[in-house]
C-alpha cells in the first residue's frame, strides 16, 4: 500500500495535466472572422486585421512606412493573442567581413568600412552614422565619407563592444567587435530600405473590451483601439 499510494498520486497528476491543458485550449477556441480596421483620429495611422479561421493577416499604414505580419491567433472571452509567423523573407541590411592582415599581437583593431546602398544598385552611402557602442551606449559617432567609406582604429576594444551602422530609413546593422578584436578587417555593409517591413514582435496580447458584430475594442497596455468591422 505504501508503494501504491505515491503511484496513484502520480497517475492522478498525469491524468489532470492533460485535462488542464485541454481546458486552456477549449477556452481559447473562440473565433473571429472578417476584416477589422482601426484608424488613428488624425488619419496618419491605420491598422487592419483580417481574421480567417484560426489565422490572421495584419497591415499597418503609417505616415512614413507600412508594416505587415501574419500568423495565428488565440482568443478567449477577454483576451486576444496574436502570434506572428517568423519571417525570414525580409530583405535585411547585412555585412561581409574580411580579415585583411593578421594583427594578433597588436592591441589595436583596425577597421575599414565600406557602406553601400543595397536598395539602389549598391551605390556608396555618404553620411551614414557609425556608432561605436559600449553595451548599448554610443560613445563615439562617426559618419561615412562621400565614397561611403570610414577608416578608424579602436585602441581599447574593452571600451567598444559593438559598431552600429545606420541611415534613418534603412535597417541598422550591429557588428560585434569580438569577431575581429585586435585584427585589421575590411567590412562591406549593405544597408536596405525599411519602408515596408514586418512587425518586430513575436506576439501581442490584447484585452478584449468589446466584441460585437460591428466592433472589436481592444486594449494594448494603456491604449484602447476601436476596430470597426469593415467586411
Amino acid at each position: 500500500m505504501l508503494i501504491l499510494k505515491p503511484m496513484l498520486m502520480s497517475m492522478k497528476i498525469c491524468f489532470l495535466i492533460p485535462i488542464f491543458i485541454c481546458c486552456k485550449l477549449v477556452s481559447y477556441c473562440q473565433i473571429l472572422q472578417g476584416t477589422y480596421t482601426w484608424s488613428e483620429p488624425g488619419g496618419l495611422k491605420e491598422n487592419t486585421i483580417v481574421f480567417n479561421k484560426n489565422r490572421f493577416v495584419q497591415f499597418e499604414f503609417n505616415d512614413m512606412d507600412t508594416l505587415r505580419g501574419s500568423g495565428y491567433y488565440l482568443m478567449d472571452g477577454n483576451r486576444l493573442l496574436l502570434i506572428y509567423d517568423k519571417i525570414d523573407k525580409q530583405d535585411k541590411s547585412n555585412y561581409h567581413l574580411e580579415e585583411k592582415v593578421s594583427n594578433q599581437q597588436s592591441s589595436k583593431t583596425i577597421i575599414h568600412l565600406y557602406i553601400k546602398n543595397g536598395s539602389s544598385n549598391n551605390k556608396p552611402i555618404d553620411n551614414a552614422i557609425i556608432a561605436l557602442m559600449h553595451y548599448g551606449r554610443e560613445i563615439i559617432l562617426l559618419a561615412s565619407d562621400i565614397n561611403g567609406k570610414a577608416n578608424f582604429v579602436i585602441s581599447d576594444t574593452n571600451l567598444v563592444n559593438e559598431i552600429t551602422i545606420g541611415v534613418l530609413g534603412y535597417g541598422p546593422l550591429v557588428i560585434p567587435v569580438s569577431d575581429f578584436r585586435n585584427k585589421e578587417v575590411s567590412i562591406e555593409c549593405v544597408l536596405k530600405i525599411t519602408k515596408d517591413h514586418f512587425f518586430n514582435e513575436d506576439r501581442k496580447e490584447f484585452s478584449i473590451l468589446k466584441n460585437s458584430k460591428t466592433q472589436l475594442t481592444l486594449k494594448l497596455e494603456n491604449q484602447i483601439l476601436n476596430y470597426q468591422k469593415t467586411k
Binding site: D63, M64, D65, D126, I129, T194, K195, E221
Partner: protein
C-alpha cells in the same frame, strides 16, 4: 531649384547664432531673412490640388510659426533641402505620407497628401497635417545631410532608431518630446490669422494628431486622451470618436 546644400544660408546646424540655437529665446533670433526665402524657393507645392494651395500658402506666410522658422529654431540655420509637397492616392486610411528617403540627387524630401481624404476636413486639420509632415521631412533631411549634428540635437531619436528599428516610431517619439508645442504655436498663429478665436488648448490638442499611439500620449489621463482624440477627429471628418456629428471649429477647405 538647385539641390546644392547651403545656398540659402548653409546646411544644418552650422550657421545660426547662439541665441538662434536656443529655441527658447525666439525673440532674440533674427528670423526674417532666410526662412522666408527657403519657404518661397524650396517648398515645392505646384503638384498640390487647388483646394490645398491656400492652406500651404497661409502656412508659408506665418511669422513665428512658419515651417522654416520652426526648423530654424532647432537647426540654427536655414534648411538646406527642398521639401516637395505632392498629391496622390495613399493606401489604407492615411491622408499623408513622407518618404523616409532623402533624394540626394535632387536634395529633396517628398510628402504626398491624399487630398480626397480631406473631403470633410477643415483648414485647421489640413494645416496641422502639413506641419506634422514638415517635421518628418526636416528630420529625414537633417539626419541625411548632417547626421552628426542631428544625432547631437536629437540623441534620443537616434537611440530609438537603433533600438526600435522603426523610423516612424522614432520620429513620433521625438515629436512628443520637442515638437508638439511648436506645432501648437504654429497652428494657433495660423488660426488667429484666419480669424478664429480658440483656446490654446484646442491647438495643443490638434498638435497630438499622428502621435496618439506614442507612450507620451498614452501616459495622459483617459479624459484628456478622449478630448484630444475627439478634437482631432472632428476637425478631420466632422464626427467624434463615437460617430456623432459635431460642429467643426475651422472652415472646410472643399477638397
Amino acid at each position: 531649384v538647385e539641390p546644392s546644400d547651403g545656398d540659402l544660408g548653409g546646411g544644418f546646424g552650422s550657421g545660426g547664432s547662439t541665441e538662434c540655437n536656443n529655441r527658447n529665446s525666439r525673440d532674440a533670433c533674427d528670423l526674417i531673412d532666410f526662412s522666408d526665402l527657403w519657404e518661397d524657393e524650396r517648398i515645392i507645392d505646384q503638384n498640390l490640388r487647388p483646394c490645398m494651395q491656400p492652406v500651404i500658402s497661409d502656412i508659408k506666410n506665418l511669422g513665428q510659426g512658419s515651417v522654416g522658422r520652426i526648423i530654424q529654431r532647432f537647426a540654427g540655420s536655414t534648411p538646406g533641402y527642398n521639401w516637395e509637397l505632392t498629391d496622390g492616392r495613399l493606401a489604407g486610411g492615411i491622408n499623408a505620407h513622407t518618404s523616409q528617403n532623402y533624394n540626394s540627387s535632387t536634395g529633396t524630401v517628398t510628402t504626398t497628401f491624399d487630398s480626397y481624404k480631406f473631403t470633410n476636413s477643415t483648414d485647421l486639420s489640413v494645416a496641422r497635417t502639413i506641419l506634422h509632415e514638415s517635421i518628418h521631412a526636416y528630420l529625414v533631411a537633417y539626419f541625411r545631410l548632417d547626421p552628426l549634428s542631428a544625432s547631437q540635437t536629437f540623441a534620443q531619436l537616434l537611440q530609438d532608431y537603433f533600438q526600435l528599428q522603426d523610423v516612424n516610431a522614432a520620429h513620433h517619439n521625438e515629436m512628443t518630446r520637442n515638437f508638439v508645442n511648436e506645432i501648437a504655436i504654429a497652428l494657433q498663429e495660423y488660426g488667429i490669422n484666419k480669424g478664429y478665436n480658440l483656446d490654446f488648448e484646442f491647438y495643443q490638442d490638434m498638435a497630438w494628431a499622428g502621435l496618439t499611439t506614442t507612450s507620451a500620449f498614452q501616459a495622459l489621463s483617459e479624459s484628456v486622451k478622449n478630448r484630444i482624440n475627439n478634437t482631432i477627429q472632428v476637425e478631420l471628418v466632422g464626427v467624434d470618436t463615437n460617430g456623432n456629428p459635431q460642429a467643426q471649429r475651422g472652415s472646410r477647405i472643399g477638397c
